[in-house]
Amino acid sequence: MTRWGMVIDLARCIGCNACTVACKTENGTPPDHYWARVYTEERGTFPDTKVTYVPALCNHCEDAPCVTVCPTGASHQRADGIVLVDRDKCIGCRACMVACPYGNRFFLRKRDLKTGYYGERTAYEDAKWKWFVGGTVTKCTFCVHRVDKGLEPACVVTCPTEARIFGDLADPESRPSVLIRKRNGKQPLAEMGTNPSVYYVE
């Protein structure tokens, strides 16, 4: 059984946020909805400092708390591990947002869809936003529409340094599995017991 996942190589990420923009372009997410983003992490004190860029997205956890707490079944998990929100079932209770340790879910207010990024909605926004329903929760889909066609998520194909590596975690010979094994991949907030499908290597 396939389990889609991703390895993020922190040694390669340069913090360009191309993934952030690619995600917004591919999915046409409304303002303030960042399904993919890059956190800046500063450590140390001047002059001995280090900046690490930490790309983040929905971790498509195996034991997803958002799926457990959802009272309507809108948040659900496919057999291949991808966690999705059914916009026709979501009631906007936002229990999933509170339950998600990673802050990767976003509530779409009805008014958010009335105007575009720059005032009046553009033709692009009209085309993309027909998939969004006001009053519901949105999240990263691992670009399921691309994955189902055999393509990689937009953030992965866009990354200029190949810091994001996508593949089947259930296959021990897939690129992500090999990377996790060889470079001691770590899951974010593993202590939460959610078993994320996203790993970080340094």
């Binding site: 956190y39 500063e42 450590r43 708390p65 309507t72 009631i91 906007g92 209770c93 802050g103």
Partner: protein, 308 residues
């Protein structure tokens, strides 16, 4: 951990730090609060045979709590879908319990409401079912908080215990008020129960704070905001000082002097405290940073304290 060391970032910020849950605030606190006191009032009134109190409890749950939830939902017209995931979701279980409480509670009160054709045995059976449902309504929001793994402060069994005993306290308080208001005999035991519950809730709130030191950093950061940060006045001043300390003193005065005015004021302070305990706990709900923060990071728009 000092509150000023807690780096809290906003939703749109791309800096590593704690993130506030900003979704559950006034309306959800109101819904939890009304569910607690309404179901508590029904339960305590049932136990003391006060039908008026039981009816008011049902109204608080059926009208107040339901309205707060519906106002909060993004798609309120779909609310009935909530019942489908009762196997895993405490929200589902809570809504089902609310429905059962309302239906069984109305049948239990049928004879009191004038429907004398309803057999006595039926009202007794439905009364028992309503009490069971009331207990679930009193406690389920604590389990909803407990199930929120992303907000470690809430991820403790202290939450359902706190919800249960605050609901009992609110129910006892309102039962005393309804008894006094309707001219019914006041049960002296109820006033002592009120004092015992106040003391117990004080201990439970203290446990939430004290046990945080042994839990993960996000819990300690949340408690720092609660006790030494922007929520301190609300939490320590209103919820603990006024809600528990002030109410204890006023109930003591009421017992000593038989003053109904002192009892009425005690009810107000108690309910204020109840509301703001849960409001404070919701407002300081923090999601941990993706990776541990060895030191607070300044700049990049990061800000200390509650970001809103």
């Amino acid at each position: 951990m000092s509150a000023t060391n807690v780096v809290v970032i906003g939703r749109s910020q791309f800096t590593m730090g704690y993130r506030h849950q900003q979704e559950w605030s006034w309306l959800i606190t109101t819904a939890f609060f009304l569910g607690n006191v309404g179901a508590g009032l029904f339960l305590v009134s049932y136990a003391t045979g006060l039908s008026l109190g039981a009816g008011i409890g049902l109204l608080i749950v059926g009208v107040g709590k339901s309205a707060a939830h519906l106002l909060y939902l993004g798609r309120p017209e779909r609310f009935l879908r909530v019942i489908v995931r009762w196997r895993t979701s405490w929200i589902s279980r809570g809504l089902i319990a609310m429905g059962l409480l309302l239906v069984c509670g109305v049948v239990y009160l049928a004879r009191y409401l004038g429907a004398s054709f309803v057999p006595h045995d039926v009202t007794v059976a439905f009364g028992v079912a309503a009490v069971i449902a009331a207990v679930v309504v009193m406690v389920y929001d604590g389990f909803v908080l407990k199930a929120s793994r992303g907000t470690p402060l809430w991820n403790t069994y202290l939450m359902p215990v706190l919800a249960l005993f605050y609901a009992l306290l609110g129910g006892t308080t309102l039962t005393l008020v309804v008894q006094a208001g309707s001219g019914a005999t006041t049960h002296a035991q109820l006033e002592w129960l009120e004092i015992a519950l106040l003391a117990l809730n004080g201990v439970l709130v203290g446990l939430v704070i004290v046990t945080a030191q042994a839990r993960q950093a996000a819990v300690q950061a949340a408690v720092a905001l609660l006790t030494r940060g922007p929520m301190t006045r609300v939490f320590l001043g209103v919820a603990v000082g006024l809600g528990i300390g002030g109410t204890l003193a006023l109930v003591g005065v009421s017992i000593a002097t038989g003053s109904v005015a002192a009892l009425a004021v005690a009810a107000v302070t108690d309910l204020c405290g109840h509301f703001f305990v849960f409001f404070s706990l919701l407002r300081v709900g923090l999601h941990p940073p993706l990776r541990p923060l060895p030191q607070p990071v300044a700049g990049h728009g990061a800000q200390a304290g509650v970001s809103r």
